[in-house]
Assembly symmetry: C2
Homo-oligomer: 111 residues x 2
């Protein structure tokens, strides 16, 4: 863990940082969720993704109920340190709909 | 353009939606920025990415000064419609540092 870089991370007014989750093998973007300092700590400690659920107002160990946990391969930090990118090996679907990725709907294609 | 899906998009209290930009060919995640309704409209109209710059408080045509515009291939919408994913063909570096991706720093690797 790069402690200096960890200290650089900029949380928003709610103590959260948007976190993109990407499949480490296929590079598919799976989801976007929000981490607070504690969920980032738990993610690094356990090697599985933890987030802060804004709707439920609680820590959320991704996949703990569905079994679709995400094993963390790498955590990357944005140039201005206000966004994270987590590369994972997912055990199953990322989306609550059962889709692999939460971005399964296309608004506009082939410009 | 899927008008029904467009109407579903949920902007936050500041009228913004976080937008992930991904390279359509390599699948590399390049950046995360914020769109308002007008920048999304301009993105779809022009086929190049437009964002809302939160620091400058103005519309931002990505690459208009650097030449590193991003040609849009597809716009995808999150399951709960509060995040966008834009697939692009970038003309150059996405990051102001000159790096291809803004996520060029690793906090922790190989868990």
């Amino acid at each position: 863990m790069k402690e200096e870089l960890l200290k650089e991370i900029k949380y928003d007014a709610n103590g959260l940082v948007p976190t993109i989750v990407q499949d480490a093998e296929t590079n598919e973007v799976l989801m976007l969720a929000y981490m607070n300092a504690e969920s980032l700590h738990l993610t690094v400690e356990t090697g599985e993704t933890w987030f802060w659920s804004r709707s439920r107002g609680e820590l959320w160990h991704k996949g703990v109920t569905s079994g679709n946990v995400q094993r963390v391969v790498e955590v990357r930090v944005y140039c201005d340190a206000d966004t994270l990118l987590v590369l994972v090996n997912p055990a199953g679907a990322a989306c609550h709909t059962g889709e692999r990725s939460c971005f399964y709907r296309s608004l506009e294609k082939s410009f």
